[in-house]
């Protein structure tokens, strides 16, 4: 398999390469399987990070140190960080929903998966059969280094693809900004006078809201304050908090009633 590709790439496979391959190959595989199997989205992302790191090591092994480092900086550093940020925004307990949100999603996924598997299999079959790999050593020598070689190709032969990359990146960024950013226009912003008018409008109580209850047994922000008649003051607890009623043990007198 890719074992033999590696061997061909280096002319002959050194012991060091073999050792590294057999360490990081299984690691990459564990990461890939774990990513699919993990129930928690963040664990899933971390498994993916493991796979990406292993891929970075593979690139370095195959005489492409620059692309290996780029793999780590861009994929694990930037893109997975973006994933993680999104997961943090969503919350840790949101388990994966098993309902199909897009119709025909599963069939499409299975079809595409099969197609991709076929593609990978043919590529491996070809690599094991007729193609003989040359390796990067000669290419790296030509321009005085791996980085220089990549740059020389990037700015001559692939310059169009390079420029298109920037267009692609900026399209994605602008799209993200349009979707995720709500611009507050200056005209729509309420002035201080408007805010005051709203505050003193009939039906609105202008004073500060009462604080949460502070008792010997609980001073949580979720514990409501008591009104003089002994009922809970609804306004003393923030709307976003679940109301917490004092349990029997908590509200029981603590021997101070005498």
């Amino acid at each position: 398999m890719s074992h033999s590709i590696l061997a061909a790439a280096a002319g002959q496979m050194g012991t060091g390469e073999k050792v590294f391959f057999w360490i990081f190959g299984p690691l990459a595989l564990i990461g890939a399987i774990g990513m699919v199997w993990a129930r928690n989205a963040v664990h899933s992302a971390l498994f993916l990070v493991l796979t990406m790191l292993s891929l970075g090591v593979f690139y370095v092994l195959q005489a492409g140190p620059f692309i290996g480092m780029v793999q780590i900086i861009v994929y694990t550093g930037a893109i997975m960080m973006l994933f993680l940020f999104v997961l943090m925004l969503v919350g840790r307990d949101s388990s994966d929903a098993l309902i199909e949100t897009l119709r025909g999603q599963r069939t499409a996924a299975i079809l595409i998966g099969l197609g991709f598997a076929g593609l990978v299999c043919t590529a491996i079959a070809r690599a094991m059969g007729s193609v003989s790999a040359k390796g990067l050593d000669a290419a790296n020598q030509a321009n005085g280094g791996n980085v220089q070689g990549i740059a020389a190709l990037l700015f001559t032969k692939y310059v169009f693809a390079f420029e298109v990359t920037s267009a692609l990146l900026i399209t994605a960024a602008v799209g993200a900004m349009i979707l995720a950013h709500v611009e507050r226009r200056r005209e729509n912003r309420l002035s201080q006078v408007d805010l005051m008018k709203a505050r003193f409008a009939p039906g609105n109580y202008p004073g500060p809201k009462p604080g949460p209850g502070v008792y010997a047994t609980s001073d949580s922000v979720a514990t409501p304050a008591l009104l003089p008649d002994g009922t809970f003051a609804d306004r003393s607890v923030s709307k976003i908090l679940p109301t917490r009623e004092l349990s029997g043990a908590e509200s029981a007198p603590k021997g101070t009633e005498r």
Binding site: N40, V42, H43, L46, V49, P65, F66, G68, M69, V70, I72, I73, T76, G77, A78, M81, L84, F85, M88, R92, G145, N146, V147
Partner: protein, 456 residues
């Protein structure tokens, strides 16, 4: 000439015997741990001195063992892991933070080729053609330690602190990565030993001052000054140090991402934080301050005898300590920035300035190659003129326009009868009636009292 320090090239690396590699690895760990303990004391002593107080002075000679004792204490403490924590990731986060912190020093050159037990070897653990990218990769991986620790704690303050902290780090990582581009452009290499070698000596300048041909400065801190300034600022932001220590804004976020960590895991984050500071100082010294090379006036002595072998370690550590002193000085002097100010500085000042500077530098370097001198100056003048025009035509920020007196009077006239009294529109505060009464009563009394006393 016989003292000339031998610069290691990339071919010198990766051939060490295994025990030499092991010695170097252990030396890197030992050096970093000792430097961390030292830096904590260095910081406390310097800050104390700047605040005119003695600072720690009880443990050991002059209190210098305080940080060691503080560190020794932590493993003996009970570890409290919140029940809501995600145990595996909670454990993983400090390991990532700690391990990533040590990577940078693997590619930092401490000196030229030296001889250790009869083996000629560079005074550097290892160097690769993409050494600076290794450093950047390690930095970007260390953000994981912070994000994951915030998330795994299962608590709101650490989560928000972790997010804030990592947003800050990635914002300044951009500026930092781009500031290094100018160094690559000047040095033409990405290996750290190569960059130090490229700063060995400037080209002979064309000037002739009474038969003395001065050397052009060779440090990239001078040659690419804007990059150095941007690097220094973003290094402070990257390491979460004052005045950019927003993750530790105690009044808002308790302790930030490490609120729920205790015992040795807390020590780990503490260690990682200080090592990060030492790392950026070491990288700054290597990329911009000539690395292990002796500074300018001393480098003239006997054809650079002070560059020879182990001397390099002295100059390198000296430069790192100077860099660290800058960090400490900032902390002792400046108040903390607000988060919006901080982000504005990163994205609206450092980043655009960086991009413009890179392109200007590229333009200058390319025109310098052209043989005819005149076109070169024309291009440079053109760039300068365009930059100046851009600066002058930059739209000035307009503040909210103050309403005119007429508008205000109109508004006042519309107010219903019996409204709340308003101060006069010219904003001149009339003298308080109470004040008048007070002075009116007092004046004669004091005068009278004074004369009475005199007469007595």
């Amino acid at each position: 000439m016989k003292y000339l320090a031998q610069d290691p090239t990339l071919a010198n690396f990766g051939h060490d015997v295994w025990w030499l590699v092991l010695i170097k690895v252990v030396a890197v760990f030992a050096l970093l741990l000792v430097l961390t303990l030292f830096t904590i004391m260095y910081e406390r002593k310097v800050v104390a001195r700047m605040a005119v107080r003695p600072g720690p002075n009880q443990v050991g000679p002059n209190g210098w063992l305080q940080s060691l004792m503080d560190g020794m204490k932590l493993p003996f403490k009970e570890e409290i892991i919140p029940i809501t924590a995600d145990k595996v990731v909670y454990f993983l986060a400090p390991v990532i933070a700690g391990t990533c912190a040590f990577i940078t020093f693997a590619v930092i050159p401490f000196g030229p080729m030296v001889s250790i037990f009869g083996h000629r070897t560079p005074l550097q653990l290892t160097d690769v053609p993409v050494a600076v990218l290794v450093i950047l990769a390690a930095t970007s991986m260390s953000v994981y330690g912070i994000v994951l620790s915030g998330w795994a704690s299962g608590s709101t303050y650490p989560l928000l602190g972790g997010l804030r902290s990592s947003a800050q780090m990635i914002s300044y990582e951009v500026a930092m990565g781009l500031s290094i581009v100018a160094v690559f452009m000047t040095a033409g290499t990405m290996s750290t030993s190569g960059i130090v070698h490229a700063q060995a000596g400037g080209a002979q300048a064309n000037w002739d001052i009474f038969g003395w041909h001065p050397q052009a400065p060779s440090w990239y801190a001078i040659v690419t000054l804007p990059s150095f300034v941007i690097y220094a600022i973003s290094a402070v932001g990257e390491t979460n140090r004052a005045p950019f220590d927003l993750p530790e804004a105690e009044s808002e976020l308790v302790g930030g991402y490490l609120t729920e960590y205790s015992s040795f895991k807390f020590a780990m984050f503490y260690l990682a934080e200080y090592i990060a500071m030492i790392n950026v100082s070491a990288v700054g010294a290597t990329l911009f301050l000539g690395g292990w090379r002796v500074p300018w006036p001393l480098s003239l002595i006997d054809h650079g005898v002070l560059n020879h072998s182990w001397f390099g370690l002295i100059w390198f550590l000296g430069k790192v300590l100077i860099f660290l002193f800058g960090f400490i000085w900032l902390r002792a002097t400046l108040p903390r920035l607000r988060y919006d100010q901080f982000m504005r500085l990163g994205w609206k000042v450092l980043l655009p300035a960086n991009l413009v500077w890179i392109l200007i530098l590229a333009g200058i370097k390319t025109t310098q190659r052209t043989p005819t001198g005149n076109t070169r100056w024309f291009v440079i003048a053109g760039v300068v003129v365009v930059a100046l025009i851009a600066v002058f035509l930059w739209p000035e920020k307009k503040g909210p326009e103050a309403p005119s007196t007429e508008q205000l009077e109109e508004q006042l006239a519309q107010l219903p009868e019996g409204s709340f009294p308003l101060p006069p529109l010219d904003l001149q505060v009339p003298p308080s009636p109470r004040l008048q009464r007070l002075t009116g009563q007092r004046e004669p009394a004091t005068v009278g009292g004074g004369t009475d006393e005199k007469e007595n």
